[in-house]
Amino acid sequence: MRIIKLIILVFLTGSIVSCSRKIEYREGRIVVSYWEKWTGFEKEAMQKVVDKFNDSQDMIYVDMLPVSAIDQKLIVATASGVPPDLAGVWTKTVPTLADKGAITDLTEFCREAGIGQDDFIPFIWELITHRGRVWAMMTTPATIGFYWNKRLFREAGLDPNKPPKTIDELDVYSDKLTVFEHKETGKRYTYYELVQKLGGQEEATEYIKLNNLPMIQAGFLPSEPGWWPWLWGYFFGGTMFEAPDKITANQKENIEAYKWIQTYIKKYGEYNVKKFSSGFGSFSSPQNAFLSGKIAMELQGVWLYNFIDKYSPGMQWGAAAMPTKDKEHYGMAMCEGDVLIIPQGAKCVKEAFEFIKFLTKPENMELLCSEQRKFSPLSEVTPGFYSQHKHPYIRVFRKLAENKYTFSFPRTGIWTEYNRDLTEAYHRIWLGGENPEKVLNEIGEKPQEILNLELEILRKRGKI
């Protein structure tokens, strides 16, 4: 029996030793392990900053490792007590990770390093804080703007340098840019022409249905790209969450926005829209609906320029703010970003923060952001930053981040769950044709219950 005991002992010792990560040294320097979700040119941009940091001093060495499915791997590593010292995630995960105690509070580190609110664009600072504490550091921010295809505008008789500014204008532009084709005659009609010719939207829709006219070009579709099915209410003056504890999915502005979404599938025809949309290629390909000219106007992030440049360099396009219901809100946008966090249980917290401090110096932040073709999250930039920037509309996207109505995803720890519920609501309204008011009333109940429960736990644990 002694042998069996010995085997068990050896196994357990081995497990304990292998499960605890020791501080590593490379040529006398402490190694900071850094997991990053980026690959390709985005990773290369950060690698340049990492190399610059490693060359700048002789105490710390940052070892960056690209990691796929970083959210899940980070959870497993953190829960197992072997997290990396630094990780690159998204702003949307910060409240959840902070509430669950998975990341290190950076407030004191920032204070000691003299990093504060004034150094950043105000809204960007909000994105890295939660419940009054700093939990992450912004690396590359992004705003979501309105893109349009200038060639298609010209073909439709629209001024290519004048994008729509209100939802009503957007609807008219879309009708003028949405094209149907008669299969037998090959004749093409815009939806706008059909409405004019037949005397109304109902008649035009019925004509399309009866003659089985397939859609060959869309002006605007709220379903494309479909990444943020929850945000339309904001452009109508609504919000999906009122901090700290109120789920507001069924606000009247949100209901109005979802009713507006539904008008698109109703007027252009359910079958037509679904069939046409299913033919769109993947985002990162030349078959991307916007890049291939299948859709004339689209809501997309600052990053779209990188894909235009890669897959459709000759394209004539413009970028501005998303049209809003009333003119007062025009200029607003959704703002999110990539951030660095220090997981709870990291071995080299101080050293990891040294890298964060290095990154927040304007010249390093600008190196990263210009290489990734995004704007700097810092309030001040060096004079040549914008004039040398490759993105032709970078100032537009930066301005969107500064707008007083600019918003982000609902900043609550239950966002992943709430987001799934809102996606379901969107599908039921967009694909299922259900009543928006009924759906949003139903959808709001469950996340509110979960949020109440979560807040109760946070209170018991003394976090709020």
């Binding site: 829960a79 959840t96 105690g101 998975a102 679904k274 069939k275 996606t423 599908h427 469950k446």
Partner: protein, 293 residues
């Protein structure tokens, strides 16, 4: 136990120790700890907090839990009989004496060898409403408006079922092995007595291969309840929760929402469902399955 027996026991245990270590670490410990976690609020980052039956009570009040259960039962109830009919029919056809039989057998088995991720991506394109090969044939066959399979809540589940039929190679091979064990003498006697092909199938072949059928169906039931990769890759549970199958919802709760306690209670409910169905099947098998030995 004398010295020699003890030595043999130690050697035996040493030989199987890699398995024992693996089983204890990766199966037994998580299995037992999940019972405890199912009664806790546990987000993996902080210590579990005992909350009694709250997870189970909340689960029964959770609408999405019932949707995922409905979706899973829908899949199991439609897929199991359909897969049995298709795989048995193909096995019977592959058991006949026709030219190029090996070729056909390979053709039907090959999809089983394709990794599920690759297969799911392939089927994403085949189900494409605009360019998909499936709709191309449906239009050729005179269907004017074929469905937008994965983009339509009404057709997304049937699409996943159709895709499941593509990978029946394993079941076909097992049925084929069973069919080849049926004594020729019995079939020849039936021929002499004037039995038709369907008489032979239902009165000779089926009863003789009933243990094989039982095994295949039982395995299908267990695997079908754990459907995950296809909806995870192809639809993410949508559109409108129409493909949120049980295991996918469990995954979302555990690894997206960090609700390990809640997910553990879901896992135990699934375990009980599968256990009850398996015991029920075994009970039925005592009457319906014929073991020659």
């Amino acid at each position: 136990m004398n010295k020699s027996e003890r030595n043999n026991l130690i050697k035996g245990l040493l030989f199987i120790s890699p398995w024992i270590i693996g089983f204890v670490t990766f199966v037994l410990y998580p299995f037992l700890s999940s019972i405890y976690y199912s009664f806790c609020h546990f987000n993996v980052f902080e210590p579990p907090q005992w909350i009694g039956f709250a997870n189970y009570i909340n689960l029964f009040k959770d609408k999405v839990f019932w949707i995922s259960l409905y979706n899973t039962f829908f899949y199991v109830i439609i897929f199991i009989p359909l897969s049995f009919i298709v795989s048995m029919t193909l096995a019977l056809l592959l058991n006949t004496k026709v030219k190029g039989l090996s070729f056909y057998r390979i053709i039907f088995y090959i999809p089983t060898l394709v990794p599920m991720v690759a297969l799911s991506i392939l089927w994403l394109w085949m189900f494409n409403g605009e360019y998909g090969i499936l709709n191309h044939f449906l239009i050729k066959m005179g269907v004017p408006k074929p469905p937008n399979w994965l983009a339509d809540p009404r057709y997304a589940k049937p699409a996943i079922i159709i895709m499941g039929l593509w990978t029946l190679g394993q079941a076909i091979i097992i049925y084929l092995a069973g069919l080849q064990d049926v004594p020729r003498s019995l079939l020849e006697s039936a021929d002499i007595d004037g039995a038709k092909w369907y008489h032979k199938i239902f009165h000779i072949i089926m009863p003789l291969i009933s243990p094989v059928i039982f095994f295949n169906i039982l395995m299908s039931v267990i695997i079908s309840f754990q459907l995950f990769a296809q909806p995870f890759i192809m639809t993410g549970g949508g559109p409108g929760r129409s493909t949120t199958f049980y295991l996918l919802y469990l995954y979302q709760k555990a690894f997206e929402d960090f609700r390990m306690g809640y997910a553990s209670s879901m896992a135990w409910i699934l375990f009980i469902i599968i256990l009850v169905l398996t015991l029920f099947s075994i009970k039925i098998s005592k009457k319906k399955v014929y073991y020659g030995g």
